[in-house]
């Protein structure tokens, strides 16, 4: 995610990275969440 934002020329603070990560976590499609659970 940091690389993705850097590639777009968007700088974010560590606190913002953490906030974005929390938002993305909530938005993960359900099937991906199931896959991730299986993988772990």
């Amino acid at each position: 995610m940091q690389l993705l934002l850097a590639l777009q020329g968007i700088a974010a603070t560590q606190a913002e990275f953490a906030a974005i990560a929390r938002t993305l976590e909530r938005l993960v499609p359900p099937v991906h969440a199931a896959t991730r659970e299986n993988a772990s």
Partner: protein, 475 residues
Amino acid sequence: LPTTLVELRRQIVAGERTAANAIDRQVRQLALDATQWHSVVHALEPAGQPVNDEAPLGGVGLAHKDIFSSRLNIPRCGTGHQVRHPDDTESPVIQRLADQGAVSLAALSMAEFAAGVTAENPALPLTRNPLFPGAMVGGSSSGSAAAVAAGLCYASLGTDTAGSVRIPAASCGVLGLKPTAGLLSTRGCQPLAPGLDTVGVLARSARDAAQVLAAGLLPRQRDMVLPDFHLTDASLDLRTWHEVLGNDLQLPDGVRFRVCLDHCDRKFSLRADQHDVLQSGLAALANVFAVQTVSLQQRLSEWIRLAAIVMHSEAAATHYAALRAGTGLNQISRFTTLPGAAIPAAWYAQALRQAAHCQADFLTHCLGDADILLTPVFPHGVPDWDDVLTTSDTFKPVQLLGLFSWTSFVNYLGLPAIVFPVGTDPQGRPVCIQAIARPYAERVLLGLAHWFEMQHCGDAGFVGRPPALYQTIPN
């Protein structure tokens, strides 16, 4: 002045007062705002706006969210500077209202770039709730709700991307209508997430909102043929918008309701006192109409997720240059837009692809043979300002998230929805209900609001004594 637009027009038509007299009083009332509510960003020049007793909205003062471009106003969109619309167009809705005699009194406060669910905006004084001291004012159309509740204008246009008309309206105890996507043109209105942005109406009464909605439609829309109520009804009655909104808003027998009070996320479970007030309102409805309980659960969770993906992605695209520059957005707008720059394009494409399917699923399985789905608006009631101000020592994030927990999915589904008060909680704050209907069924929503209004409030509308109408105006 009377409390409702409809009564004001009756008085002008009957010759009991003139439009010029009514506008003069409304212009002078604006002076009350600066020391009490902070809903006005700046007043607009009344000179040059025609005042005509015969025009359908002659004598009616309106004031709108400072997001619409018009010949009178280059909006500031909650920033400290003027923001030119990307296409440099003016709002045809504002122009239609002016063509029908309404006077634009002021540009009203808002969250920066409409990217917030409260009035919090470091560039502006904090908007105060005119009727419920200490209670927050929702956003992003915060000035619209406060000005309507205070009685500074008869109605106001706002915009709603995830609840930005309904949330402020519900916080101030007034009516907020988010029409079907695209019904009121979004041209000339600064975008946030264009796939979700909807122009809506805030007013103190359902009949007033109907008048403003009808006036804001383009001529070709007014002649559009609409089904009346049940799409499943064999005796389908087809009428035009012009006929529908020009008529009495009486709710006919046989309208069917479904109710869902349980949120899929336990953080947003309904507080007991809110539950009791809503149940009391629903019991009154069930005495007259068929009301059936329905569960949304996993569907609701999925719609909320998809709505957030579209909102963040499109908001990031809208403000991409500012995100890259690292300047030009306050912290709240930046937090709303930034995740969109990191959301995978495939998620966004998938969310768009599923929208039509989700709407069909809602209509078939959640609404079924009913006309309206009823839900709460605020699961925890209207919070104190200190609970939802992000700079407050007692900031409670769950309270802030709860504000749009029942509203954002409606924009994703593209459906019309209305909020209005059905009672007050033990703190004396309004408890509002949300009604959601089929596309272009605004009349049934306004009819329901009118029914509650007549049951609980009478002809004065949802706000019996708007303070500005009862205060002495300073010279």
